[in-house]
């Protein structure tokens, strides 16, 4: 059994207790995904599995079925993903600790079609907390990506 993360195959942990988050951070040198609370409360550990957001702190690695995408997998060579570029453009962070989780959640928020208004974005981003309270800038970054996509 292997884990597919950002298009590459990695070994599964032997210990069934290991969460996807701990496995990536401690064993696979994929430290972009952050551990905030480790209890499903903050969203810092959000990754995509087959394009759907999940909390990697609450998922045992051995139960992962599907392709995992983390913050490390978004950019293509030296070109940032549009959501990463929008976060830079809109100053959508201060300390940056929540940012990888915010960006992964934001990518799904747009692809799900849940970025139609400021209120809708706030609702569908409610699982991602930001202690620096960059919320208005985060919502603005997401709205700009959604708008750019709508305009093709």
């Amino acid at each position: 059994m292997t884990l597919c993360i950002n298009g590459a195959d990695y070994p599964m942990p032997n210990d069934p207790r290991t969460t996807l988050l701990d496995h990536m951070r401690e064993k696979l040198n994929l430290t972009g995904t952050k551990k905030g609370c480790d209890h499903g409360q903050c969203g810092a550990c959000t990754v995509l599995v087959d394009g759907k957001r999940v909390l990697s702190c609450l998922q045992l690695a051995q139960t992962v079925r599907g392709d995992v995408t983390t913050i490390e997998g978004l950019s293509k060579n030296d070109t940032l993903h549009p959501m990463q570029a929008a976060f830079l453009e809109h100053d959508a962070y201060q300390c940056g600790f929540c940012t990888p989780g915010q960006i992964m959640s934001a990518v799904a928020c747009v692809s799900e079609g849940h970025a139609g208004s400021d209120a809708e974005i706030a609702d569908w981003m409610s699982g991602n907390l930001c202690r620096c309270a960059a919320y208005p800038q985060i919502r603005a970054a997401i709205a700009s990506v959604a708008q750019a996509e709508a305009e093709g």
Binding site: G40, K52, L55, L58, L60
Partner: protein, 263 residues
């Protein structure tokens, strides 16, 4: 987290066999159990994952006009697949927690846990659902036995939940803004032969039916019908988010809103 043997069966029969052992526990989406194990408040010796069991997945309508939901179906799947068949339930599922929780958390896990502020218990009780386990069928009226307590035996698996589809229904949830659980929530279900109203997040005994409102709404399904009723604050939850009186007040307000929004 204490260590455990991890079993990932593909059938209910294999899961039931694995759960025979001492200190064996099922794992649904893990959105409640994994944090509990991290806190060492649960320490199963064998953990039996249910999410790979095909017969416990998905939503469909039965010949008897019930909505059948597999016990390992996620909230996000119920939100999508029940949308046209039973919009009141889809609306409830789509407002549980946040999107990441909804992509993993399951109806079986929610009903087995019976958190006093959880959403699904209100739908199960208001529809008079049948909870089918690997051993028997349990009526919702007998299933909920106080907060975090149910009729389930140790290791018993919720395989399927069947809910009679109402003519009209709606769930109103007053968000506890930090956790996004229900500070109080009310599910109203209107059937040809009567109305059922179930309340979560309010009572120290967990989910309960507000029978006076059921009677009043049974003869007149309009928000006005309950205007003369009042809810006692006795036995309501008291915490920093709301007093018993506040929750009692919310029960009535939310019931009225659910009747007005019922579809």
């Amino acid at each position: 987290m204490h260590n455990f043997d991890f079993v990932k069966p593909g059938t209910v029969a294999d899961a039931a066999a694995a759960l025979q052992g001492d200190e064996a526990q099922p794992l649904g989406g893990g959105q409640t159990l994994i944090p509990t194990m991290k806190q060492r408040l649960a320490a199963p010796e064998t953990l039996v994952s249910l999410i790979g069991i095909a017969e416990m997945q998905g939503v469909c309508k039965t010949d008897a006009g019930e909505l059948s939901i597999g016990g390992a179906t996620t909230h996000a799947t119920v939100e999508a697949e029940a949308a046209s068949l039973f919009p009141g339930l889809a609306g409830l599922a789509g407002r549980i927690g946040d999107p990441a929780v909804r992509n993993r958390g399951t109806i079986g896990g929610s009903l087995a846990n019976n958190d006093p502020a959880a959403c699904y218990p209100a739908a199960a009780l208001a529809t008079g659902a049948t909870i089918r386990t690997d051993k028997r069928e349990i009526a919702a009226d007998d299933y909920f036995q106080g907060m975090f307590t149910t009729a389930l035996d140790e290791g018993e698996i919720i395989v399927e939940v069947r809910m009679p589809i109402p003519e009209k229904s709606n769930y109103q949830k007053f968000l506890q803004p930090a956790s996004r659980f229900a500070l109080t929530g009310v599910f109203v279900a209107k059937y040809a032969d009567g109305v059922r109203v179930a309340v979560t997040g309010a009572s120290e005994e967990g989910v309960f039916r507000w029978t006076e409102a059921e009677q009043a709404l049974g003869s007149n399904f309009a928000a006005d019908a309950i205007s003369g009723l009042s809810v006692s604050a006795d036995g309501m939850i008291n915490d920093l988010h709301g007093t018993p009186e506040y929750r009692a007040h919310l029960v009535k307000v939310l019931t009225g809103r659910a009747v007005m929004a019922a579809a």
